[in-house]
Symmetry: C2
Subunit: 316 residues, 2 copies
């Protein structure tokens, strides 16, 4: 049997056929053109499903259903995109709009949740049943898997792991609160801190790294310059690791999952990031000596997590 997973984004609609082992056997991508009506976008999505199935000579009898990972606030039980700024959607019954055209079961969930499910069933978290995925990108996203199934909270409005305050009255967060995990541990926050440190230290090697252009600072600037022995870069990285580890320790103590997986661009640092986090987390997680440790892993599916995770909604 096969599954279709759709990674619905503000820019592109990526569609893939996924087999029972979580392997993508074919994929396609078309522009979302989100300025159109939701019904027009849904028409294209349904067309892509029917087309990719036909092109790959799979009969509709072999298709279990269609899973969708969507940005924004989703009510996965109802199959509705409640609100998605990226898509410009408000209260769109996307599952129904696809179902009436494809005539197969359709499930939808938030893109971060879907990625967590995909990584757990077929990626870095394979073999675990209780996991958390934390993505360090523009924001801090996350998904929680408990007993092999997505945990999403009331009307799927939980698991907003990035919007948990770790510094009361701290940095302003886009959500309206101050001091959220996201405001310290996103790539955006790392870039902000890198720039501020550079402005304080005009002699830092980070200036050379970006060719003197502070607008070229990204999530790698501090990490890479630290390797050249730059003290200011080291401060930035140490500080970033401190806040990130505190946010992750909170998730350890609250959920005590078997594993936490990290995704997003910052994870390109691999073991350099992971080992520093592990040192702090092993020392400070709650419990006595027999308390099970939480494994810390780098997510492994990359950009395919969206398609694979969406397909996995039908296996869940």
């Amino acid at each position: 049997m096969y599954y279709v997973g759709i990674d619905l984004g503000g820019t592109n609609i990526k569609t893939g056929i996924v087999d029972e082992q979580g392997k993508i056997i074919a994929k396609s991508s078309i522009p979302t053109k989100s300025e159109r009506t939701a019904d027009e976008v849904a028409f294209d999505m349904a067309f892509e499903v029917l087309n990719i199935v036909k092109t790959n000579k799979i009969s509709m009898d072999e298709l279990v259903g269609v899973g969708i990972g969507s940005p924004g606030a989703i009510n996965s039980g109802a199959g509705i995109v409640d609100y998605s700024p990226n898509l410009g959607w408000y209260n769109v019954p996307i599952a129904e709009l696809i179902l009436k055209r494809v005539k197969k079961p359709v499930k939808v969930s938030n893109d971060a949740n879907v990625a967590a499910l995909g990584e757990t069933l077929f990626g870095a978290g394979k073999g675990y049943k209780d996991t958390i995925l934390v993505t360090l990108g523009t924001g801090v996203g996350g998904g929680v898997v408990i007993g092999g199934k997505l945990f999403e909270g009331n009307e799927s409005k939980g698991a907003e792991l990035g919007h948990s305050v770790i510094v009361v009255n701290g940095q302003q967060c886009g959500c309206g609160r101050r001091g959220c995990f996201e405001a310290y541990s996103s790539a955006t926050a790392l870039i902000r801190e890198t720039k501020e440190a550079m402005l304080r230290d005009r002699g830092s090697k980070m200036w050379d790294f970006v060719g003197g252009d502070i607008d070229k600072v990204d999530g790698k600037t501090a990490f890479e310059t630290e390797k050249q022995g730059d003290a200011t870069a080291k401060l930035v990285v140490n500080n970033y690791v401190l806040y990130l580890s505190e946010g992750l320790l909170n998730l350890c103590n609250i959920f005590r999952p078997e594993a936490i997986m990290l995704g997003g661009g910052v994870c390109a640092q691999g073991d350099n990031l992971l080992n520093r986090l592990k040192t702090r987390m092993q020392a400070l997680h709650y419990g006595y000596q027999g308390t099970p440790a939480v494994d810390l892993l780098i997510a492994s599916l990359g950009n395919d997590a969206g398609i694979i995770g969406a397909a996995a909604l039908l296996m869940n």
Copy 2:
């Protein structure tokens, strides 16, 4: 059918017969004498079970089983008290020690988790399926109920809601980290802040409230003196509400339960506390206008939550 619930504490063993509606129909209390061996304590517990059942003319056929709420780190799946400083127990297979004497199913869980289950099924949370209990006492304890069942994490070592940092590098917490929710929102923290404010303001009416004796400060001092118009007391209370609301908002966003219940002595303030928390939480919880609000309630079972919740482990 009936259930026996045991609220096992460092000082007393409280045993009760609970009916299917969560009503205690008989209860007893004996001293724990925790300086004895675990087997001796377990013998007494088993005796209490058999005795209370017999005294109340309930046949063993009518008894579903025995539930135990224990302090410390419990492995509820295995029925073991891994570690309990209050009892002086390390790796005690309490379920097995009771089972071999009572010959009925025995379940054990952490006392805070058990209270959360009891409050959800038969107390303030009746009618809800996804709830969190946060107890504001010596520490900040908690329990999480998802879909009507306890969520406890790997080897029941999760749901340590009090040990989530809300101020990185903040107040020292007993767990080894700095800035935990517990270090700001426990009654202990409120008392610490009250005393510090009194030492800064020798003219505060709080001094009169405690008859000039700072050792008489408790969780009521600031709340009650604020009602007399004392500005310093008002500062203490506002600050306490600020940190408590941030910790609760984190739980809203992470779990998005239907309701959060507050327990512990501080809750004697009732609506005075609740309304201030609600105002902040409604303004700042994550989501757009359609995101479901989280109801905030005061726990209602009081000291019976332990017995009722322990019994409820067998209904779960």
